[in-house]
Amino acid sequence: MDPIRDDRGGESPASTISIDIQPGSDGSEPVVTIAGEIDVATSPTLRSAIAAIVEGASPVTIDLSATTFIDSSGLGVLVAALNRSRELGHDLSLRGLQAPVRRVFEITGLTALFAVEE
């Protein structure tokens, strides 16, 4: 599938996503908190951030409580992260899905694939 160009090569537009990574300590697992909208424009940033943390040796929790939008490209990033986590032998769970985001997971059947915490 052809990629979409992300910009004209000038200054980056204002991002509609922010990613906060709290590294695990004292036995707690790392938590990646994603705020904003996950779409084709922002999912590459998310992919890079999650890939780095998933390569670690512990389970990862992704907090979507501040995520207001996710499309198929965002779902693809999360599924890829889940698959990589399983290859490495650890868990990746989601938490805090708000209604619009939960609805997308439900209609695509992905709630059955992920461990989803309330």
Binding site: M1, D2, R5, E37, D39, A41, F69, S72, I107
Partner: protein, 132 residues
Amino acid sequence: MVGDSMFSGGDEVHVVLPPFSTYLRTARLLAADAATRAGLDCVATEDFRLAVDELCQAAMRATDQLIFMSFESTPGRVVARGAGHTRDGCTLELSDLSATIIDALSDGFEFELCGSDLTFSVHRRCAVLHHG
């Protein structure tokens, strides 16, 4: 309000989008606005917003030219339409995941290629009208 008594062109907004992913947000904003003006509730508006996003991103993958879009609001119903030209030799692809999402969230959609002419549309009705 400005022009309310003079304008009779219907409730339709037109926009021309460059084929860059950063403009998907513009399409979503206009989709939400049109759905709200049509009287759709929050859930239906979110559904329509996502359906438009999925179609636009598929269209943007197929073209390097401007995409012409319109958003038409009538009481209880909203329609988004798009048109453009594909790159030479480019095929039109809508992923299974995108198709699943759009199919579940809309009341109907089209995504077609005729020669190099790309067209797409999606519509959503009010839940009350939809079920009633």
